[in-house]
Symmetry: C2
Subunit: 88 residues, 2 copies
């Protein structure tokens, strides 16, 4: 069982109003040293067997990202990745 | 200048219809060995100075995630992180 993470972010030259809204809200929390916030998607895909990088690339390109305005990166994560800080 | 990435994912026990829609679309691409797709958010925050982990945690908790249904993880990334595969 392999787990692959695809991160999809807007290209740097594309305006990100959602991120800007968060950035504009930060001073209300008393935080003024943030220069930029960009919001994208993180997609976790679990394969029943091994993950074929070519296949993951195809999924990301055809289903997950809009290549005109978005970039994606693919990373395979450890099989038994237990999220940190979740003792509860 | 520090860059911090906050990954926000639905808790495992919360249904993710968006991810399921992607999983259900995969057989149409000829892909049948995916057992699960979960879709969350990836937020990149750039600080003008050093990033205070406590402060980032506050931002994530109050602005970025809904702690009732979502988990978040925080990671500081290298300062001059250039996305791979972008020679164009």
């Amino acid at each position: 069982m392999a787990r692959v993470v695809v991160d999809v972010m807007l290209k740097p030259e594309i305006l990100d109003p959602q991120g800007q809204a968060v950035a504009n809200a930060l001073p209300r929390l008393g935080i003024s040293d943030v220069s930029s916030v960009r919001i994208g998607r993180r997609i976790e895909i679990e394969f029943t067997g091994a993950a074929d990088p070519e296949r993951v690339r195809e999924i990301a390109d055809k289903l997950l990202a809009n290549p005109v305005i978005e970039d994606f990166t693919i990373q395979e994560v450890a099989e038994e990745a237990v999220p940190a800080g979740e003792p509860s």
